[in-house]
């Protein structure tokens, strides 16, 4: 910092030599390219090339052992005819439709609750982040224990208040919702922190002004607060949607897709296609389809909700 201040004190010296020679400019170019080079090599090798390769492999039949065979659109046709593919797609869309609004609105509720001048706010925020910072695999195992039909503590509580135990993870009716509960629980804190940051940018005077005008708490929230944080809330919804579509760790650990196909979510099925059945062509085709779905869903969210957000903020 001392250096920074020192440099600012001598602008007169720089103004004199502002003209940068062509040689020096070229030196800056070279330096620029060299500085981004490692980063860019990583990008080309593990991002750009694989994206193109995935599209290419999706047109082949390949088990990793024998050389890939070009099959045109056969993978796409076969997948669209496959029952489990549609089940996994349906599961994932249903999971996302439930997860995103529940998680984001619940987070909004808690963020509003926490958005007071509390001395222990830092501590509360940190505690809410606890599940987020733990690995999903570990979280999955802990909840498997809680959900255990015979010895799990949740069923114990249920029995105690007169209900019968639920086969949380072993029944086709409830398994997907059990994973959903865990997912909502794990990432709730992340969304709370994000939305809390947005709430704290709302200037205090606006609340005062609204209160003077006689608005009650509910009105203040929906007429003053929410419009101001709606861009970030909207961003939160979009990111949440993109991430929920890709859920893998929890179903992989907790259910492996079962019972039946109840929790066979898209990415899990993709992984199983690739590394269990060694159908690389099918797996890559699913990757391409997933990408297209996410792009379409993002576009739709911007089309139908983005406009409202702009209207609210202007």
């Amino acid at each position: 910092m001392a250096l920074y201040q020192m440099e600012l004190k001598k602008p007169h010296r720089m103004r004199g030599i502002k003209k940068i020679s062509g040689c020096q400019r070229r030196r800056e170019w070279v330096a620029g390219y060299l500085f981004i080079l490692p980063n860019f090599i990583g990008f080309l090798t593990f991002m750009a090339l694989p994206i193109l390769a995935t599209i290419a492999i999706s047109f082949t039949e390949w088990d990793l052992i024998s050389p890939p065979k070009w099959v045109g659109f056969a993978n796409y046709q076969n997948l669209f005819r496959e029952r489990v593919f549609w089940i996994s797609l349906k599961n994932t869309i249903w999971f996302t439709i439930l997860n995103v609004p529940i998680q984001s609105f619940l987070a909004l509720f808690f963020a509003v609750l926490l958005n007071k001048k509390l001395k222990a706010l830092t501590l509360f925020r940190t505690l809410f982040l606890f599940p987020w910072v733990c690995m999903a695999v570990a979280i999955g195992l802990t909840w498997m224990w809680l959900f255990n039909t015979q010895f799990g503590v949740i069923n114990y509580f249920l029995r105690k208040i007169g209900f019968s135990g639920v086969n949380w993870l072993t029944s086709t009716n409830t398994a997907l919702y059990s994973v959903l509960i865990v997912n909502i629980w794990q990432y709730l804190g992340w969304h709370i922190v994000l939305l809390l940051a947005a709430l704290q940018t709302v200037p205090e005077e606006l609340y005062e002004a609204a209160r003077v005008d006689g608005a009650n708490g509910w009105q203040i929230f929906w007429k003053v607060t929410f419009p101001l944080i709606s861009p970030i809330f909207f961003y939160d919804l979009v990111v949440n949607m993109i991430l929920t579509f890709q859920i893998f760790d929890l179903p992989f650990t907790m259910t492996g897709g079962g019972p039946g196909h109840a929790t066979r979510l898209f990415n899990l099925y993709l992984y199983q296609k690739g590394f269990l059945y060694l159908q690389m062509g099918h797996a890559c085709t699913m990757g391409v389809i997933l990408f297209i779905i996410i792009i379409i869903a993002t576009y739709l969210m911007f089309r139908f909700m983005g406009r409202k957000i702009n209207y609210l903020t202007s």
């Binding site: 910092m1 920074y4 001598k10 720089m14 800056e28 330096a31 620029g32 500085f35 981004i36 490692p38 980063n39 860019f40 990583g42 990008f43 090798t45 593990f46 991002m47 090339l49 694989p50 994206i51 995935t54 609750l113 007071k116 509390l118 830092t122 505690l127 809410f128 982040l129 599940p131 910072v133 733990c134 690995m135 999903a136 695999v137 570990a138 195992l141 802990t142 224990w145 809680l146 010895f151 629980w185 709730l188 994000l194 940051a197 970030i232 961003y235 890709q246 893998f248 760790d249 992989f252 650990t253 907790m254 992984y271 690739g274 797996a283 890559c284 990757g287 997933l290 996410i294 993002t298």
Partner: protein, 277 residues
């Protein structure tokens, strides 16, 4: 009642309310701690929150029998190597994008940034094959290299930071005869410590917890990271839940400690992701 007393009462009510919510919210983690300290016969018989007899035996079983020792070592090696690489290469690239001028800068940057939306599984299989062709399958190299050169988000965060530093500063240093590498190393890096901390803790947590890539790239037991090693328990018929919870504790405690000691950098990291877009 006077207004001051009223707000005070309101505040106490709020505190009680939040603490109750937190108790419910964190109950799974508390139950996990409780189970990890119980003796086997108590695990299946009682639902006491405080164990009748606290035992550390489960941690010993997890540490040696479940081989969590080895998994922990691998996880530390891999996640710290990736974090170091990310810090160096993202700050280098961020400096170039944020402070230097060169043709095609913006196109290259947005090309890079556009990959933020790409799902992991889209690049998974080709990346796996690329690693195999380098002969890095089932090695530390294979675990580390795909993430070693930095992430799009990291470069973005660093660029945002360096853009906020006035260019006069480095221009003055150039005139004084400093090379770009020297400017980056001795002026830019020390100034960007908070940004580096934020990027560092976020990257560390992400790769400490990463499952799918290590799952795909490693097979041998000596190379398993915690996420892969723990996920193996799904294959067991009967699970010793108390030792299992001890293993879970060992796997998650380091990140919880880092969260508690560096919480403001985590908060900053999450906020930046929201505000900057």
């Amino acid at each position: 009642m006077n207004p001051k007393g009223k707000t005070r009462l309101k505040n106490i009510g709020l505190y009680v309310c939040i603490i109750l919510i937190l108790l419910v919210y964190l109950f799974p983690i508390m139950w996990q701690i409780s189970t990890s300290l119980k003796e086997s016969k108590e695990v299946f018989s009682d639902y006491n929150f405080i164990p009748k007899k606290i035992t550390w035996e489960n941690y010993r079983v997890a540490w040696t029998q479940f081989n969590v020792k080895r998994y922990l070592f691998n996880t530390i090696v891999v996640s710290f190597a990736i974090t170091c690489g990310t810090l160096v290469f993202c700050s280098m690239a961020g400096y170039a994008y944020g402070q230097l001028n060169f043709p095609g800068k913006n196109i290259l940057f947005f090309l890079f940034l556009s990959t933020l939306m790409v799902p992991v599984t889209v690049t998974l299989i080709p990346a796996y094959i690329i690693i195999l062709t380098f002969n890095w399958g089932d090695t530390y190299w294979g675990l580390i290299m795909p993430y070693f050169f930095g992430s799009a988000l990291g470069t973005f965060l660093m660029r945002q930071f360096y853009m906020s530093i006035p260019k006069d500063l480095s221009e003055a240093a150039t005139i004084d005869g400093a090379g770009y590498l020297q400017i980056w190393w001795s002026i830019m890096l020390p100034m960007s410590k908070p940004a580096l901390m934020t990027l560092g803790v976020m990257t560390l947590v992400l790769h400490w917890n990463n499952l799918i890539w290590p799952l795909v790239i490693t097979h041998s037991p000596q190379l398993k990271v915690l996420a892969v090693g723990l996920s193996d328990f799904r294959l067991y018929r009967t699970i010793q839940w108390n030792s299992m919870m001890a293993a879970v504790m060992i796997a998650t405690a380091p990140m919880l400690i880092i969260l508690m000691t560096a919480q403001r950098f985590f908060i900053k990291g999450i906020q930046l992701q929201g505000v900057s877009r």
